[in-house]
């Protein structure tokens, strides 16, 4: 077998193994992102707050567990939150660019996004699904306090 043939088979087998390994690792990590409490034990299992996020044309509404409503989100650092995202009109998308997190908001359907920010500061929220003429002004902030 010539060197070229060895190189060819090494590339084929190597690329296949790389893709399989990449798929398995990605699947495990994506599962951890979607179900961060799956590996939590004891008291940590229920240590989170649920906040409802309702998308409107053209603003975001946040409903805290105590019933308070706000147009921007204020949360604590190093605390787990479950955002239940929905829409009252058309499809929107809840996007936090600093975190790389994005979740769509559909009418009559609730999607979930786990949020745990470790560094206090101000983070931006954009709508990344074109929702009408005011799509570009559908911006708000998340204030994270320590």
């Amino acid at each position: 077998m010539g060197l070229a043939r060895v190189f060819e088979w090494t590339t084929i087998i190597g690329a296949s193994a790389l893709f399989v390994a990449l798929s398995i690792v990605s699947a495990i990590i994506l599962y951890e992102i979607n179900y961060p409490l799956a590996y939590a034990t004891g008291n940590n299992n229920n240590n989170f707050e649920t906040i409802k996020v309702i998308a409107h044309q053209f603003y975001w509404e946040f409903q805290y567990p105590n019933g308070t409503k706000a147009s921007s989100l204020k949360i604590k650092a190093n605390h787990m939150y479950l955002l239940e995202i929905t829409s009252v009109d058309v499809i929107h998308s809840f996007y936090i660019p600093e975190l790389g997190l994005k979740q769509d908001a559909y009418p009559n359907y609730t999607t979930r996004l786990w949020l745990n920010i470790t560094q206090p500061g101000i983070y931006h929220v954009y709508c990344t699904e074109y929702c009408g003429t005011g799509h570009h002004i559908m911006i708000t902030i998340i204030t994270v306090v320590s």
Binding site: G2, L3, A4, T11, A15, L18, F19, L22, V25, S26, I29, L30, E32, I33, P36, P97, E98, L99, G100, L101, W114, L115, N116, I117, T118, Q119, G121
Partner: protein
């Protein structure tokens, strides 16, 4: 056709150790350019456990794509230059 005949006459299809060294040098250069243009796979400073995982997946995918890209494009560039049919000195190709 000329290239094919020239290749078939040579031992090991005319590809010697010097060619392998030059090919892998081309691949390495392409990989370095690819990584430099993509900020070495760093997209943001992770400020959340989920973001750290996303950044890790992005980096792994970016590097894996870079290896495949540089091997493929490196072969394309190097083979194009190495087996370029430049014709005979008398003008017959």
């Amino acid at each position: 056709m000329y290239t094919y005949l020239r290749m078939s006459k040579d031992k090991n299809n005319g590809f010697n150790i010097k060619d392998y060294i030059l090919y892998f040098t081309t691949v390495l250069l392409l990989m370095l350019i690819y990584l430099y243009l993509g900020n070495f796979g760093k997209i943001f400073g992770p400020v959340s456990p989920a973001t750290e995982k996303i950044a890790f997946i992005y980096m792994v995918t970016y590097y894996a794509a870079g290896v495949i890209f540089s091997l493929f494009v490196g072969a394309l560039i190097y083979f194009t230059i190495r087996f370029w049919d430049r014709g005979e000195k008398d003008g017959v190709s």
